[in-house]
Point group: C2
Chain length 339, copies 2
């Protein structure tokens, strides 16, 4: 391992977005006198009569949830994106705006209110993966849907307003910022080399073995070289495939195993139900050739030092670049030991 | 005002960064069942013997603060950037890294531990502005400093670890991400039109009067058309000038007045000491021609509904684009009424 990267302040390039992260390895010693997060390790019941996501309960819009047994998907009652609303474009001098249409869904991972992905078996998680595939496929069939974002906000600190295990799917009529960047960088590389950018990166990581947490036949779990969040990780399929519909045979189960191993390790790290936002970046669902895309799932967890002390992405990070204290290599080392 | 922008989901373009924000005006009605922030409206003493920023107290590194009477600047005891450390570049396949050098400073706005900018007079704030100018100028004189980021994290929710009124200045040997984007967009416009992008934008906003909160002879305080944070604002000098050294005569006082009016309005909005990160984006301090730069100060406050309910920039926002519920126009209306 290059020891300069462990000793001196430096920046690292995210090859997917083209943006930099500032790394300050020497800064981890700084004492913390700031805000502590509330930890809630309360034991939840398997069914909560007041939870609008539990089976059989009423939602805010009056509908009653079915008595679902594994995964349950419904359209968000307070969707950020609307369908069928007016189409318009504003190009008024330096003011540019455009209507954006879309469909937002909520996906309950399990009827069991008390569980998180970390407490579900890979075979249960596989039902979530299959629901993600089904939804991606169905949403993509809408002519006006160009991109489908699957994500989960876990924990109150990540803005999650209900502890029932669930994620969301927002699909929309144009490409969001992060996808535009990843599309450009993957496309440029693929056009030049006729190989997947992330595939080549994976080969390099596998040969170095400095940032790999776990692998099975189809997936690698690693801390990317350019990780921003203290314990940021990525699950990458070994085979180049643009979207999750590319999973074959038992690869859905192997993906579920990767999610299971990672979320369990996270919970062990600070002995708490580990908060994060996770998301799957994959090929747009437009008519273009998207074969340069190599899908991946990322986890952005905010905790830095303990169950109560998070990393704040504030002043410098908002106005300059993201900044981290512990290096990707140290983070990987800590996570790997907990498997 | 275009009513489509108040009724339907749409995206707006940030002309400075080239990125989009998703706006969901219809979503403000969504009930909130998530995390509440702690509010601390405790009255603080004018001098706290345990505060490492108060005059005459000892800092963690053993140094004693002078008995300063207005503004006090010192080098950060736990700086994220180092000077004089090794120079290196890593170009190892798809791993790209580069050493980054810099100087980080802390600036105490006042010896009075109990105050914030909102509680200081414009004439007191002017001393902060003059210190910013002095620091920008002195740091720029270092050959290896290419950019100087002045910022403030205010409030525990913004990662501020000490309530003593203070900001920071991080200066570094290359341009951070946000500056690279703003540099490109301002430069492109300036080369084409030989006019300042932000100057032309300002003219348009002044003629529309839909997003202006306040103006004096030299400054405009407005909610930018592309605002991301619920009550995000910008202070823009009317005269085109690349950096804060361009302020002439009583313009430092007029800038201080703008800061004073804005921070007071913020405190009134939810009847709390309003948290935010603020920062000044200005011309790099490298050898290039930076006359396309038009400096400005932005405020990114997280609160959305009340002193305890903030906007979470999480899952969709991290993986897709920033998203907001109330429109820039509604936010401006609310702030303007509080002057
Ligand atoms: O430097 P401070 O106040 O200790 O730290 C705060 O501001 C820094 C600059 O935005 C951030 O990197 C830290 O995460 C935040 O807690
Ligand atoms: O949709 P929810 O869970 O109510 O809301 C949460 O996730 C959304 C998507 O990331 C964010 O826009 C909200 O700020 C956050 O509180």
């Amino acid at each position: 391992m290059n020891s300069d990267l462990q000793d001196y302040s430096h920046k690292r390039l995210n090859i997917l977005t083209g943006e930099w992260v500032l790394v300050s390895p020497h800064r981890a010693k700084r004492p913390w006198q700031g805000q502590n997060e509330a930890v809630s390790n309360e034991v939840r019941p398997a069914h909560d009569p007041n939870c609008y996501l539990c089976a059989g309960n009423k939602r805010i819009n009056g509908e009653t949830n079915p008595n679902y047994e594994d995964v349950f998907v419904f359209t968000n009652d307070f969707a950020a994106l609307q369908t069928g609303s007016k189409d318009f474009t504003i190009e008024d001098g330096l003011l540019t705006a455009q209507s954006e249409h879309g469909i937002c869904k909520v996906i309950c991972f399990s009827p069991d209110h008390s569980k998180s992905l970390a407490e579900m078996d890979p075979s249960e998680i596989e039902k979530v993966v299959i629901a993600w595939q089904r939804e991606y496929n169905a949403l993509a069939k809408n002519d006006f849907i160009e991109y489908v974002q699957i994500f989960e906000n876990k924990g109150a600190v990540m803005g999650c307003s209900n502890p029932h295990p669930h994620g969301q799917i927002w699909s929309q009529s144009s490409l969001p910022n992060e996808i535009i960047k990843k599309d450009e960088n993957q496309s440029e590389y693929f056009n030049k080399k006729n190989r997947s950018l992330l595939g080549d990166y994976l080969d390099q990581e596998l040969s170095k073995q400095e940032r790999i947490i776990f692998e099975n036949d189809a997936f690698v779990v690693l801390v990317p070289f350019w990780a921003v969040w203290p314990y940021e990780t990525m699950i990458v399929p070994k085979r180049h495939q643009p979207n999750i519909l590319g999973l074959k045979g038992h690869e859905t189960l192997l993906f579920s195993e990767a999610i299971s191993v990672l979320t369990k390790v996270y919970d062990k790290l600070f002995n708490t139900s580990f908060p994060y936002s996770s998301g799957i970046h994959q090929a747009p669902t437009n008519d273009k050739d998207n074969s340069h895309w190599h899908w991946h799932m990322s986890f952005y967890p905010p905790l830095l030092r303990s169950a109560t002390v998070k990393k704040f992405m504030v002043g410098y990070e908002m106005f300059g670049s993201p900044q981290r204290d512990i290096t990707a290599e140290i983070a990987c080392e800590k996570l790997k030991q907990l498997i």
